[in-house]
């Protein structure tokens, strides 16, 4: 056993990372470090990681992190390139470190927004409450080595109209960025949060981000997430969400770039009459890999969840969708819908799609579906027979396919921003 522990790459991976300075609960910290001492990185023999190899993350040379002074950026750079909502509040992190010089200095009435480094122990008392650490290398690593992240507390009955945008930049070589966000939406409150991830001259860098969210009674939260880190960088994200009764939670996840992107969405629906919407679009090429693992756990009756994920995979890219819906014994009258569709644009692209339903209640309406195929060649011919070039015909169809998910995004600015990035990267008109 001792030998095994010594072989663990986790220990050598984390030994060069600075321990978190955040005032987390001591039990949480000691549990996280215990886990890290006892396990290794998951292999494809681990069911949850069957199709996603993290070997390349494990072999990042963390001892040779090329850390540098914060990038020389101005607010204008942020506004012109990364800011999605002109009306919104913008907060910038570089490699997990809060850049106050690039961030909004104003805060809306009805909300407390600050970096975690500015929080006291009481404010962070609930951090890690629902997050599983056991057998979870990345959760434990994030907990033990979190650099910083955003604390957002929307007060009861507050309605924050302007989106709160968190911009995460990763820079440098072999950078490991453990980011932790903690979000509380008060009773009857409403807010929209954007999280966008970009790489700036980064190489073999790794973002490990956890966003913990509590949506209180009758509160409404939408998260719009854009993953646009460049090739050569790795990204693992977990959203751990607790929903109280009568609440609505929506997350739109757009994955358009990056070498390896894994999204874990763990939604615990702990109250009655909740609405949960999970939408995702992923459009990748070359050797890129995306893995969306979602869990919606219906524990209470009279709730609805809608899940729609669509992907367009070109060249040698690979995709994974694993969507699990639990409907617990007492959770009657649940409507749970799940759908995953994929279009493969090349013979070398692959997708592993696994929708799963576990239903223990008897009066529920649940459906799931998964399709993976190529573009309908008959339709391509039909469009060409009307004078449309083959290239435009394919683009029209891809745009229509993915547009199904994009149309779920209510924020016009976020949708437009996604469009323009799709256009930049793939030359597609939408």
């Amino acid at each position: 056993m001792n030998e095994l522990i010594q072989e663990s790459k986790v220990v050598s991976f984390v030994e060069h990372l600075p321990k978190t300075m955040l005032p987390f609960n001591n039990d949480l910290l000691s549990k996280a470090s215990d886990v890290l001492k006892s396990i290794d990185f998951p292999t494809t023999r681990t069911e949850a990681w069957k199709y996603t190899r993290v070997g390349r993350i494990a072999s990042i040379s963390t001892a040779n992190q090329v850390t540098r002074e914060g990038k020389n950026l101005s607010r204008e750079d942020i506004n012109s390139t990364y800011q999605i909502s002109k009306a919104g509040l913008t907060f910038v992190f570089e490699n997990g470190v809060f850049r106050s010089d690039l961030s909004s200095g104003e805060f809306p009435v009805g909300a407390t927004i600050k970096p975690l480094t500015g929080c006291d122990k009481d404010e962070l008392a609930l951090v890690g409450k629902s997050l599983q650490l056991e057998n979870e290398v990345f959760h434990s690593m994030n907990t033990a080595f979190a650099v910083d992240g955003m604390y957002i507390s929307i007060h009861d009955k507050a309605v924050i109209e302007a989106p709160i945008q968190l911009i995460h930049l990763i820079t440098g070589k072999n950078t490991v960025s453990n980011l932790r966000n903690f979000i509380q939406i008060g009773k009857f409150a409403k807010a929209e949060i954007m999280q966008s991830f970009f790489a700036l001259d980064a190489e073999t860098s790794f973002t490990n981000v956890i966003t913990e969210v509590n949506v209180a009674e009758n509160a409404h939260l939408t998260i719009n997430k854009l993953q646009y880190e460049t090739e050569g960088n790795y990204h693992i994200a977990t959203e751990q969400v607790d929903q109280a009764k009568d609440s609505t939670f929506t997350i739109n996840t757009m994955t358009l770039d990056g070498t390896l992107v894994r999204n874990n969405l763990n939604i615990e629906v702990n109250g009655v009459n909740c609405m949960t919407n999970l939408h995702g679009a992923y459009v990748l090429k070359s050797n890129q890999h995306v893995d969306n693992h979602t869990i919606v756990d219906h524990k209470q009756p009279h709730c609805e969840s809608n899940e729609l994920y669509k992907g367009v995979m070109d060249e040698k890219s690979t995709g994974v969708f694993n969507g699990k819906v639990f409907v617990r014994k007492d959770a009657q009258k649940i409507n749970a819908f799940q759908s995953n569709g994929n279009v493969l644009l090349s013979d070398d692209a692959t997708v592993d799609s696994k929708p799963e339903l576990e239903i223990y209640a008897d009066d529920v309406k649940c459906s799931h579906g998964s399709t993976t195929g190529q573009l309908d060649e008959e339709a391509v011919f039909y469009l060409r027979a009307r004078g449309i070039s083959e290239k435009s015909a394919r683009h029209l169809m891809v745009a229509a396919f993915i547009g199904d998910v994009l149309s779920k995004i209510e924020n016009d600015e976020f949708r437009e921003y996604t469009h323009s990035h799709l256009q930049d990267r793939f030359g597609w008109e939408f």
Binding site: D376, A379, Y382, L383, A385, G387, I388, S389, S392, M397
Partner: protein
């Protein structure tokens, strides 16, 4: 307009068209009739440029161009239009967006300017009225959830929008009730000019009561075996195809 000479085409090694000849001039309407399996739809597919078919012999001259050398989209841009027997449903692609792209790519090919949004919408209104296509259908996804009749009307609507030189209607009448048939035929008749031409491929004579052809051809076993005036269609309706088969087989 189009001159087809000794056309041979096969699919998966099986020869379907076996030396087909056909000449259609501007201002004319030609009907091609024939029993099932004669090669009617193959002819339409080959002219539209379906790549599954291999042309082994023959030539097709389309207004001075070698049609067989052109890609499907260039054939359409040169003014060839195929009304599909089974119009394809394309979820998510709106009819409007599709037609604007189509119209603009054709204009671009001809070195013309893009159509303005205002002119385009005016054109949509005018042409959809021609086939009594509900304006709502025009903005829905291409053919998605359309009834059989609506799909065929949508084909003629597209034809009206693109204003082709040569239209080939591939069994546009099949599956239509008499009202839809009349609407579709009316649309086609209104679009007829001295400069364009129409080839109507049909299994039934009924359509030809509404779209009156200048010439009726009988396609059998991969060839045009008989051509005649519009009365030939009536004769076929009355007597079926057996007498023609017998006539051909006897030769």
């Amino acid at each position: 307009m189009i001159s087809i000479k000794n056309l041979h085409a096969s699919i998966d090694g099986k020869e379907i068209l076996k030396g087909l000849n056909l000449e259609v001039k501007a201002g004319e309407v030609h009907a091609i009739m024939g029993p099932n399996g004669a090669g009617k739809s193959t002819l339409a597919s080959v002219l539209a440029g379906r790549e599954e078919y291999e042309i082994t012999e023959g030539s097709v001259d389309f207004d001075g161009q070698d049609l067989l050398e052109l890609s499907t989209e260039d054939r359409a841009r040169e003014g060839l239009f195929l009304a599909f027997q089974y119009p394809i449903e394309i979820p998510g692609v709106s009819n409007i967006n599709f037609l604007r792209t189509s119209l603009n790519e054709i204009r671009d090919y001809k070195g013309e300017e893009q159509i303005s949004a205002k002119d385009f919408m005016a054109l949509v209104r005018e042409k959809s009225a021609l086939v009594e296509l509900d304006a709502k259908l025009a903005s829905r996804s291409v053919n998605e959830g359309f009834s059989g009749g609506e799909k065929k009307r949508n084909e003629i609507f597209q034809m009206a929008m693109l204003n082709p030189k040569l239209s080939i209607l591939d069994e546009t009448d099949s599956g239509l009730d008499i009202d839809a048939l009349r609407i579709v035929a009316n649309g086609v008749n209104k679009l007829k000019t001295a400069e364009n031409a129409t080839i109507v491929i049909t299994h039934y004579q009924r359509l030809l009561d509404y779209i009156v052809p200048d010439v009726v051809h009988v396609l059998y076993n991969g060839k045009i075996v008989k051509s005649g005036p519009k009365e030939l269609a009536l004769e076929l309706e009355e007597k079926g195809y057996d007498w023609i088969k017998a006539e051909v087989d006897a030769q």
